[in-house]
C-alpha cells in the first residue's frame, strides 16, 4: 500500500488534508481487491475526519470497520472516544478523551493540533454565546486551570470579577467588508439585459 502522500501530509502538518488522502488511498486499495483492514491506519484516518470537523464521515468509517480491528486496537478506540464526545456535544468530555490516552508518535502531532484548534473554536463560541459566564465553566470549556484562564481571557479584553466568580465577555466587533467592485457594474448590466429579453 502506497502511503507516501499520507506521510508527507503528516510531516508537513497539513492536517486538514489527511482525511481526503486516506479516503482516496482506501478506495484505490479496495478496488485492487487487496484485503487492507488489518494494516490500515484507522486511528489516523478517524483523527483526520475529526480534525476536518466531519463527524458524519468519522461515524461511517467506524461503522465500516471490522469488529476484530476495533477490539484489538486501543488507539483506534481512543480516537473514537474523542469523536463520540464531539458527536453528543460533550464539550468538556472532548478534552478528557484527548488527555486520557498515551498517543503514538504518529498521532501525537495531529491530536495536539486538533486540541489547539478545538480550544480556539470553543473560545469563539463562548464569545458569541455568553454575556457573562462563571470562571469555573470557562476553565472547563477551555481546558485551562482557573488562574491560566483568568490571564488568558483578560488578555482578550474580558473582565474578571473575582467577587462573584464571573467573567464578563467582550464581544468582538464584526467587521464586514463592504467595498464595491467596478466589475459589479458589468454584472448588473448583464442581469438587466437578461431580464429585458
Amino acid at each position: 500500500m502506497e502511503f507516501s502522500p499520507l506521510s508527507s501530509a503528516l510531516a508537513s502538518k497539513s492536517y486538514e488534508r489527511i482525511a481526503d488522502i486516506c479516503d482516496d488511498i482506501m478506495l484505490q486499495v479496495a478496488a485492487e481487491g487487496v484485503s487492507f483492514q488489518e494494516d490500515w491506519p484507522y486511528a489516523i484516518h478517524l483523527l483526520g475526519h475529526i480534525y476536518a470537523g466531519d463527524i458524519n464521515s468519522m461515524r461511517f468509517l467506524w461503522k465500516s470497520m471490522p469488529s476484530a480491528v476495533k477490539e484489538n486496537n486501543p488507539e483506534v478506540q481512543a480516537a473514537w472516544r474523542i469523536g463520540q464526545k464531539l458527536w453528543v456535544r460533550d464539550y468538556v468530555g472532548v478534552y478528557e478523551a484527548i488527555r486520557g490516552f498515551n498517543w503514538s508518535q504518529e498521532a501525537q502531532g495531529l491530536v495536539a493540533a486538533f486540541s489547539d484548534h478545538y480550544t480556539k473554536k470553543m473560545f469563539q463560541l463562548l464569545q458569541s454565546a455568553y454575556s457573562t459566564i462563571s470562571i469555573q465553566d470557562t476553565s472547563l470549556f477551555l481546558n485551562m486551570n482557573e488562574d491560566d484562564v483568568k490571564n488568558y481571557v483578560q488578555q482578550q479584553g474580558w473582565i474578571v470579577d473575582p467577587a462573584s466568580q464571573m467573567i464578563t465577555v467582550k464581544k468582538r466587533p464584526i467587521v464586514t467588508e463592504q467595498k464595491l467592485n467596478p466589475s459589479k457594474l458589468h454584472s448588473l448590466t448583464e442581469y438587466v439585459f437578461h431580464l429585458e429579453h
Partner: protein, 421 residues
C-alpha cells in the same frame, strides 16, 4: 480466437480502423458468447487502455452467463482495472455493452460482500460513459448504491453536486434521486435531501412505484427535521395518481407529522412508539429519533417569537427539559449551529434573544447573490433553448394542430401534418 486477438491488436491503434474492428467483433458475437468465462485468459493478451473495444466485447461475453463465486472473484479485478483505464472513445462505440459489464460488476462485488471494491471503478466508469457532466447515466444509481452499502457517503456527494440536464431512462433518475437523498441524509445535508426526494415524489408517472412510496416516507421525516413542518398537499405538477394514493399508503407517517405540529413531545413520542415496528421495518427509525430531537429545537425557536429575554429555568419548563443546565446546553448548541441568535447570561441565569445580525450588505453576501443569479440565468437560457427545440418538434406540432381551436376566420390554416406538395 487467436485470429480475433490479432485483429484486435492490429486494428485498435488507428481510429479509422475501429468501425471495421467493431464489425468483426459483432460477427464473432455468438461464438464469443458460446465460450463465455473460458475466454478469461484471452484478456491477458490485451491491454485494457489500448484495446478497449476488443477487451469490452470479450469481457461482456465472459460475464454473459451466470458465474459461480470463484469465477466472479476471478473476473472482478480485471473488470475493475478495465473500468479505470479503458479508452473513452473506444467504449463509447458500444455503450450498452459497457453498461452491462459495469452492472454485472456491481452484482459480483455485492455477491463477494465487498461493495467498497466497486466504488472507485464505478466512478471512473461514469466519467468514461458520460457525454458531459450534465448527463445522467444508468451507472449513477449503481455508484450511489455501492457508496451507501460501503458507507463511503462522502464519495457519493461529489457526484450529487453536479446538475443533471440529460437523462437516458426515467427509472435511473428516480433511483438516483432516492439514493442521493439517502446519502445527503447521512451527511446531514437535509436541504439537498429534500430537493432530491421531492423530485422522486413529484416525477411524472402513471403508476405508483415502490421508489416513490419509500421516498415519500423519508420526505415527510426530513421535512419535519429540517423545516419543522410538513404540508400534506403536494404541488400541482405532481402526477394525479401520486396525489390520490401516496398519503393513504404512508398513513403512519402522516399521523406522525400531524402530531409534530402540536409541539407536544410526549404526544409525538407516543405516536412514534405506536408505529415503531413499521418505522423499523422501513429503516426509518433513525430519522424518527432525529425528528424527536428537532422538536426541542423548534419549541425553543418558538419562544424567540414571544420573548426578548427568558430565564433558563423557564425555558427548561416550557420545553420539557429536566434542568436549567440542560436548557443552557441546548441553547448553546443551537447558537453554535446558527439556529438561534441569543446570548446567555450565567450571572442572572437568563437568555436574551437577538435579531439576526446579517444585514446583507457585505461583499461575501454579494458574491453569494451574484452566483445564484448567474446560475438562474444559465438555467433560464437552457429552458429557452428547450422550448425552441420542442416548438419545432413534429410530434408536438401534430398534437397542437389536432387540438387547435378555430376562432378566427383568418386563423383557418391547419398546422401541416405532412409536407405534401
Amino acid at each position: 480466437m487467436e485470429v480475433l486477438v490479432v485483429n484486435i491488436q492490429g486494428l485498435s491503434t488507428n481510429p479509422g480502423d475501429l468501425p471495421n474492428l467493431q464489425n468483426i467483433l459483432k460477427q464473432a458475437h455468438d461464438s464469443l458468447h458460446a465460450e463465455s468465462i473460458r475466454l478469461l485468459p484471452l484478456l491477458d493478451m490485451l491491454d485494457p487502455s489500448l484495446h478497449s473495444l476488443g477487451f469490452l466485447y470479450i469481457l461482456e461475453a465472459c460475464t454473459s452467463s451466470a458465474l459461480s463465486k470463484e469465477q466472479a472473484s476471478a473476473v472482478v479485478l480485471p473488470t475493475a482495472r478495465f473500468m479505470n483505464s479503458c479508452s473513452k472513445e473506444q467504449i463509447q462505440l458500444a455503450p450498452e455493452k459497457f453498461i452491462s459489464v459495469c452492472k454485472r460488476f456491481k452484482d459480483y462485488v455485492m455477491q463477494l460482500e465487498a461493495p467498497m471494491r466497486g466504488v472507485a471503478p464505478m466512478l471512473a466508469a461514469i466519467r468514461k460513459i458520460q457525454s458531459s457532466s450534465e448527463h445522467l447515466t444508468p451507472l449513477h444509481p449503481e455508484f450511489l448504491v455501492l457508496c451507501l452499502l460501503s458507507k463511503c457517503y462522502k464519495a457519493g456527494l461529489s457526484i450529487l453536486d453536479e446538475d443533471i440536464f440529460e437523462v437516458d431512462q426515467p427509472k435511473d433518475l428516480l433511483l438516483y434521486c432516492y439514493y442521493g437523498g439517502m446519502i445527503c441524509i447521512g451527511q446531514k445535508h437535509f436541504r439537498k435531501a429534500l430537493e432530491l426526494l421531492h423530485n422522486v415524489v413529484t416525477a411524472p408517472t402513471s403508476v405508483i412505484t415502490a421508489i416513490a412510496v419509500e421516498a415519500y416516507k423519508k420526505y415527510i421525516l426530513v421535512s419535519l427535521i429540517h423545516n419543522g413542518q410538513f404540508s400534506t398537499s403536494l404541488p400541482k405538477y405532481t402526477s394525479s395518481v401520486a396525489q390520490r394514493n401516496l398519503k393513504n399508503i404512508c398513513q403512519p407517517y402522516i399521523e406522525l407529522a400531524n402530531s409534530y405540529t402540536t409541539g407536544k413531545i410526549a404526544d409525538f413520542e407516543s405516536v412514534a412508539q405506536k408505529h415503531r415496528e413499521k418505522f423499523d421495518n422501513d429503516n426509518n427509525l433513525g430519522l424518527v429519533k432525529q425528528a424527536i430531537s428537532s422538536m426541542y429545537k423548534r419549541n425553543i425557536q418558538r419562544l424567540t417569537q414571544t420573548y426578548l429575554t427568558l430565564s433558563l429555568q423557564d425555558i427548561a419548563n416550557s420545553v420539557q427539559l429536566n434542568s436549567a443546565k440542560e436548557a443552557e446546553m441546548h441553547v448553546l448548541q443551537m447558537i453554535q449551529d446558527g439556529e438561534i441568535f441569543a446570548t446567555i447570561n450565567q450571572k442572572d441565569g437568563m437568555v436574551s434573544f437577538l435579531e439576526d445580525p446579517e444585514q446583507y450588505k457585505s461583499c461575501g453576501m454579494i458574491e453569494r447573490i451574484d452566483s445564484s443569479i448567474q446560475r438562474i440565468m444559465a438555467l433560464s437560457r437552457k429552458l429557452t433553448t428547450m422550448n425552441e427545440n420542442i416548438s419545432c418538434d413534429p410530434m408536438y406540432l401534430a398534437k397542437v394542430g389536432r387540438e387547435r381551436q378555430r376562432f378566427d376566420f383568418d386563423d383557418f390554416d391547419p398546422v401541416p401534418q405532412r409536407f405534401n406538395i
